[in-house]
Amino acid sequence: MLSPARSRPAPDDAGSAVFRGRALPWAFLLPSLLILAVFIYLPALQTLRLAAYRANVILGTEQFVGLANFAELLSSPAYRQVALQTLVFTVLTVTFGLLLSLGLAWLARRPVRGASTYRLLLIYPYALSPAIAGTLWLFLFNPEIGLVNQLLGELFGVRPRWLDTPALAFGLVTLAAIWKGLAYNIVFYLASIQNLPRDVMEAAEIDGATPAQVFWRVAFPLLSPITFFLVFTNIIAALFDSFALTDILTRGGPYTGNAGVTTFLVYQLYQDGFVNFRTGAAAAQAVMMLALVAFVTWMQFRVGERRVHYGS
């Protein structure tokens, strides 16, 4: 993934690899640029423009309101609650998701009997669509007829209301998101662990390092490039891919304080844009999320330069 590009044999005629003139490279880029313009740049500009309007896509009405959409969002207790919930959700899913998958990948690397079966079982949830995963969890955690409460009821005589107790619903969605992301992270960690330089690991063992020391002092730093990559893909996943899971499992509920406790930024945007047809307000939220992603990307480069060791 992050390994350097394979070195190619030098071309016979170095000059032939360079375009002559300026028009030709642009001509080759043109098809991609056109597609990007139609499907990415223009809609992005449209969104930027719409954010300054009170608009409703069904009515086709647009009234210029300047920055009022943003002012309303920032002063709205509901939106602030949603933003805070998103932050907590993101921190929890990324932290625990990565720790857990690193641990599991570390265990799964061992050459035990049936190792490939274990690996397969660890990876399969990645093949489930979030919609199916959400439906599975919904069946499992139905308070009256779900498997989980049947077991808990038999064993301990408790039947928690998973989907409308705020703390439980939030925990459940977080857990489901961690579980759903686990497979993706394990694939990357497993591949990286299997590519760790054997000589370094062996050297550590010969020098008398304990297994814990080998893991934390040698393997973990060597894995920092992939951890770094995963931290950012996981942040983006928590921000955007949480949508299908919450929609099916909780519909963003239960309503507590000023908003649904599992309503995250992207779900709020969907509700406003595509359910309530508050197109302007949704555009403003899209712009805010764009700024957020820009910030995350900027962080990625900044932190990447300083803290991550890519080896020699």
Binding site: N56, L59, G60, N142, E144, T256, V275
Partner: protein
């Protein structure tokens, strides 16, 4: 070149002789979309002037949005199925024309509460199609176990509460009551009490600017939930608008009473048979001490786009009338449980002995046909109805979580009124 031109002139009259009518609907399941396709095929075979092409365009929300966007590009489908809660929005979009302006149609055969819902400003705006209302479902076996008479199901909130007391005492390992939390039911209970949900005669005399959630009627409804919850009689999955989840709780015999749409009669009856218990259907229980005013129609209706040719609009209406004719609506009802929207279809079903074969359905019909016409039972029209419905559900959810009724109602009203104001601001 000449032959091409000749071919062109020959081909054109043939092609233009047939008008194509696109029909966008929101039934993704094979049973219902197959039925619609079969009616279109019959209709297309019966004449040559109009060719109807039905297609599934996703959820009601998606299909409405797709229609509007298509209309802006001058490619609107002639016929669209729009859900009842989106009626005002569809009207305000300006993308549709009232069906009564396409051609003179006698709407006298349509069931009153159904046609009333879709009559806006004195004009029949859309043609009723799939229509339903909520009823009480009950588990006859569990009722008997608790010493209750399934022949006399509760008809009021108070009746339901006292039945719940007996059920609790019988220790059945099942909750008393398990409907899904849906704003639709709150709208229904307002209508039952003769109280409009919105001002300006439920948004029918002018744009609604405020909800009627500070009324006695609204308080009765919220208090009902509070009492049910406090006594531990009520259960639902915890997710809003979880129709399937609550149906599953009922058909797995974990709730004795259930309230949901008449459109589910077929499915629930089949599931109950499989689970081995007898299911009964009763009228929607109402607040104590109020007169039974009847129910508001739910479901969807058929809208005709404005931006289509006269031939297309007439073809669309002609097909819509064919699809909803006496025989077809009776068939549709048997297949799905949705009401047949015509009096003559009810007569036909009666003649066929349908109500003696399936007595469950009769309660639902009587509840609808005995509805008292008026602003309250015509149903609330509001362009932010999708949002206000959810706001009401969230209000009830707060009551269930322990908030007191007055505070919850106040907050709900403030939020719902703000949503109305924001929608109305689009027209300034």
């Amino acid at each position: 070149m000449l032959t091409l031109a000749l071919l062109g002139t020959v081909a054109t009259p043939l092609a233009s002789a047939q008008t194509t009518v696109e029909f966008w609907h929101s039934f993704g399941d094979a049973k219902r979309s197959g039925w619609i396709q079969a009616r279109a095929d019959e209709y297309n075979k019966s004449q040559n002037a109009v060719k109807v092409m039905p297609s599934y365009k996703g959820s009601y929300n998606d299909s409405l949005q797709a229609t509007i966007l298509a209309a802006r590009q001058g490619k609107a489908p002639a016929l669209v199925q729009v859900f009842e809660v989106g009626s005002q929005l569809a009207l305000d979009s300006g993308a549709f024309q009232p069906v009564s302006s396409v051609r003179n149609v006698d709407f006298g055969d349509y069931i009153k509460p159904v046609i009333n819902y879709y009559t806006i400003g004195g004009k029949v705006n859309s043609l009723p199609f799939n229509s339903s209302s909520p009823v009480l479902y009950f588990n006859q076996d569990l009722m008997k176990k608790a010493g209750l008479n399934p022949k006399q199901p509760p008809t009021t909130f108070g009746g339901l509460l006292s039945a719940c007391q007996k059920i609790e005492a019988a220790k059945l390992n099942a909750k008393c009551f398990g409907m899904s939390l849906n704003g639709w039911f709150i709208e229904q209970w307002m209508a039952q009490q003769g109280a409009p949900l919105l001002n300006n005669a439920n948004g029918r005399q002018g744009r609604a600017t405020a909800t009627n959630l500070d009324s006695r009627a609204a308080k009765n409804i919220f208090t009902f939930f509070k009492t049910m919850q406090d006594r531990g009689y009520y259960t639902y999955t915890g997710k809003l608008q979880d129709w399937d989840g609550s149906d599953a709780i009922f058909t797995n015999q974990k709730a004795v009473f259930h309230i949901t749409s008449t459109a589910d009669i077929g499915n629930i009856r089949d599931a109950a048979k499989k689970a081995g218990f007898g299911v009964g259907v009763g009228v929607l229980p109402i607040a104590d001490g109020t007169k039974r005013n009847g129910v508001v129609i739910g479901g969807a209706s058929l809208w005709i786009s404005k931006g289509v040719s006269k031939a297309q609009a007439e073809g669309a209406l002609d097909f819509a009338l064919y699809m909803t004719n006496t025989q077809n609506m009776a068939d549709w009802h048997k297949l799905t449980g949705y009401y047949p929207v015509r009096q003559s279809s009810i007569e036909l079903l009666r003649k066929q002995g349908w109500f003696t074969q399936t007595p469950l359905q009769l309660v639902a019909f009587n509840q609808l046909t005995r509805t008292v016409p008026g602003a309250a039972t015509a149903g609330g029209l509001n362009g932010a109805a999708i949002q206000t419905r959810k706001i009401m559900e969230e209000g009830v959810q707060k009551v269930l979580a322990g908030q007191n009724v007055d505070a919850a109602l106040k907050e709900t009203k403030t939020r719902a009124d703000a949503a109305l104001a924001e929608y109305n601001a689009n027209f300034k």
